[in-house]
């Protein structure tokens, strides 16, 4: 169904598609936007489990790492086409989530968060020990490096995740997940299979994180393999999701835009204190807007147009 929201989304998407052909579509802006798309993809994929089911996964970065590791190896070492490598990376991340999720989802609340964090750290250390050498594109490949296909791949990955989340938001599966988040016992009593919904969300969340990791592997010129398993990928995603609006389809997008803009503006102008200010800004937002920017937008919209539905998706 076409409405103003879908129409706006389409306009934004078309804008991003034509951007490389516009005067301000230079390499600097495309590079910045790739970072934005990757962070938004990570936050959106984290949101599937953390926002819709309510399980706080602090090991989300591990699936990003698996995706990047598999994609990079298949693309660079086995010279497979990037799209096949990307799909394989995401699939391996999903399988890993299935294996890990079965025991991990027996844990509850803080224990689940700590368990996933420990697992990701163990994977990061193991990958660092097993693959200690930097992964970089060779000189000739760098001299013919083109940012535009990387940009489109990152954009496509984000678009796929957003479209999936929009579907999830209105689907029976998504409603079941939200029921689990609100009250597991109540959900069980109305016939919702709590474990199945949880593990499905975990696997889907990991699949999309793996896709984002694969896009990163295609984009980045040189990095240590364990870098993509780092906690920063998880914590940035969590911050973005909460600031934008956890459990909403557009919250992670809004959060990512705010995150990248504020980070860049502060780091460019307040070199010595930007991290402290960045932290304070985020604390203030979470305190004053528990529902993130989505809540603020809903409040404004309901003030201006009192008959509209809130966009919380809850």
């Amino acid at each position: 169904m076409f409405n103003w929201k879908n129409g706006s989304l389409l306009v934004v998407l078309v804008g991003f598609i034509v951007l490389p052909f516009l005067p301000f579509g230079g390499k600097d802006n495309l590079t910045l936007l790739i970072s934005l798309f990757l962070l938004a993809s990570m936050a959106s994929s984290w949101n599937i489990l953390g926002g819709y089911v309510g399980h706080i996964n602090l090991g989300h970065g591990a699936f990003f790492g698996i995706g990047s590791l598999v994609t990079r190896a298949l693309w660079l070492e086995y010279e497979l086409p990037i799209l096949i490598a990307l799909a394989a990376g995401a699939l391996v991340a999903a399988i890993a989530a299935l294996i890990v999720g079965a025991p991990a989802l027996r844990l509850r609340g803080t224990y689940f968060a700590i368990g996933t964090l420990a697992l990701a750290e163990a994977m990061r250390l193991t990958v660092g020990n097993v693959l200690p050498r930097v992964s970089r594109l060779p000189g000739p490949a760098l001299r013919s490096y083109d940012i535009v296909p990387r940009y489109y791949l990152a954009l496509a990955v984000l678009a796929v995740i957003v479209i999936f989340t929009l579907w999830l938001n209105r689907s029976k599966l998504g409603l079941g997940m939200m029921a689990v988040r609100e009250d597991e016992e109540a959900a069980r009593s109305i016939g919702v299979n709590v474990f199945l919904h949880s593990i499905l969300a975990f696997v889907m969340s990991a699949f999309f994180a793996g896709l984002a990791g694969g896009a990163f592997a295609y984009f980045h010129v040189g990095y240590y393999p364990n870098y993509t398993f780092g906690p920063i990928w998880t914590f940035d995603a969590v911050i973005i999701a909460y600031v934008g609006g956890v459990g909403t389809p557009f919250g992670p997008l809004i959060g990512a835009i705010f995150f990248v803009l504020v980070r860049d503006i502060l780091s460019a102008n307040l070199v010595n204190v930007h991290l402290i200010i960045f932290g304070i800004v985020f604390i203030l937002i979470v305190l004053l807007l528990p529902g993130g920017f989505t809540e603020l937008i809903d409040r404004i919209r309901q003030y201006v147009m009192p008959d509209t539905e809130p966009d919380t998706g809850t």
């Binding site: 390499k27 600097d28 020990n129 050498r133 930097v134 060779p138 010129v221 780091s267 070199v271």
Partner: protein, 408 residues
């Protein structure tokens, strides 16, 4: 009347065109250089030395009027834009693209840390912009066919060779070598060079023990070294691992006759954490302010004025980097990036770190400094012509060491 107006218009047009071409001939207001430096995050401590070295050199060059560029027939001052990458390679790539697109930089100056350089130097290659960096000794980065990467800083092969040259100079010196190898790219690379050089210089490798970064218990490794009767211990730990290793060596009372620990002792925290147990360790931070090359005295004076002490180890190489870039721009006579790249490749320049030339792979030919902590002070013990103290060999047993400063 019409003719007068026409002539006037022609004269004005010629003047306008003339002034335009004069404005073009004057060139830019500044020569733009760019750097992405980890001013926050895990590398912030040592990276600040790099930032300081760049700033001091640019100030000195600009005070002298800037760099002469033949294309514009005038001296143009340097302008360095530094962006903080927060010790994050992704941010470093963003920063360098930003500097290329918005600041139109003609040369990138490097930041700090092997992983940061690995990402950042690749951007230089993508943008066909010279990237010149110090504070990384990884040789492998230079073996990837990069054309725009340069580094006037000692690399693993030179570190290894210099160490064995110094050890060979000891009369009736030690011969039995043990390597405590960190399982990182630099650790494994250096282990290969140590192994090859040991054989070439007539030493015997009697033990090689590998460990993962973050290891807290080195006791098994130390016992293996003791069993193998190691006299020369070579290692490359990061600071926390290095402090753990040295602490446990003291606890197990294993003081090899000679210890070369690279990287961990570079920071002053080494002696603060270990006291006398950190003494007599040889280390190789890349440069020392007692290496009396041209300009070092002035640099030390300026550093004393600014920081209250002579130049820090990374200030010299960073300062030299800007000297090299300035000389290359002058030699190129233009701000064309490829011409500057060729001029850097052809460098033969006296700098504060000695006479610098570059090899085809972009590695620099620079002197290697070996330092040794003696009574808590980092003394330069090699090259012999600049030494501030003789090498203490063999290292005394831990139980026989005096407290640092002798007043505790």
């Amino acid at each position: 009347m019409k003719r007068i107006v026409l002539v006037a218009m022609l004269i004005l047009s010629v003047m306008a065109l003339g002034s335009t071409s004069m404005a073009q001939d004057e060139g830019p207001e500044f020569i733009e250089l760019g750097a992405s430096i980890p001013l926050s995050g895990r590398y912030a401590g040592p990276a600040i030395q790099v930032d300081r070295g760049y700033a001091m050199a640019i100030e000195d060059i600009n005070e002298a009027g800037g760099v002469y560029v033949a294309e514009y027939d005038r001296q143009i001052p340097l302008n360095l834009t530094v962006l903080d990458d927060e010790s994050d390679p992704v941010k470093a790539v963003e920063n360098l693209e930003d500097l290329y697109s918005n600041e139109d930089v003609v040369v990138y100056l490097g930041g700090f840390g092997s992983d940061m350089h690995a990402a950042a130097s690749a951007v230089g290659e993508v943008n066909a912009t010279p990237y010149i960096g110090v504070a990384f000794a990884l040789w492998d980065v230079h073996q990837q066919g990069f054309e725009y990467l340069f580094s006037p800083f000692p690399k693993s092969p030179e570190l290894s060779t210099a160490m064995f040259e110094m050890l060979s100079s000891i009369e009736d010196g030690p011969t039995r070598v043990g390597i405590i190898a960190e399982s990182t790219d630099w650790g494994l690379e250096l282990t290969d060079f140590w192994t090859a050089d040991a054989e070439e210089f007539g030493f015997e490798i009697v033990a090689v023990e590998e460990y993962a970064p973050g290891t807290q218990d080195f006791s098994d490794i130390i016992l293996a070294m003791q069993d193998a009767e190691v006299e020369i211990m070579l290692s490359l730990p990061n600071p926390p691992d290095g402090i753990a290793l040295a602490t446990q060596m003291a606890e197990l009372d294993w003081a090899p006759a000679f210890s070369n620990i690279i990287r961990a002792p570079d920071a002053p925290t080494w002696i603060q954490a270990l006291g006398a147990n950190g003494d007599f360790v040889a280390f190789m931070p890349g440069w020392h302010n007692a290496m009396a090359f041209e300009g070092v005295d002035a640099l030390n004076e300026a550093h004393v004025e600014m920081m209250g002490r002579p130049s820090d180890p990374l200030v010299g190489p960073s300062y030299a980097t800007v000297q090299i870039v300035a000389a290359a721009i002058e030699a190129a006579g233009t701000l064309d990036r490829d011409a500057i790249r060729d001029a850097i490749a052809a460098t033969e320049l006296d700098t504060v770190i000695g006479t610098v030339t570059f090899n085809e792979d972009g590695t620099g030919n620079v002197p290697v400094a070996i330092l040794q902590y003696q009574n808590g002070t980092p003394e330069l013990v090699w090259p012999a012509e600049f030494a501030t103290a003789d090498l203490v060999y063999p290292a005394p047993a831990f139980a026989d060491r005096e407290p640092i400063g002798g007043d505790e």
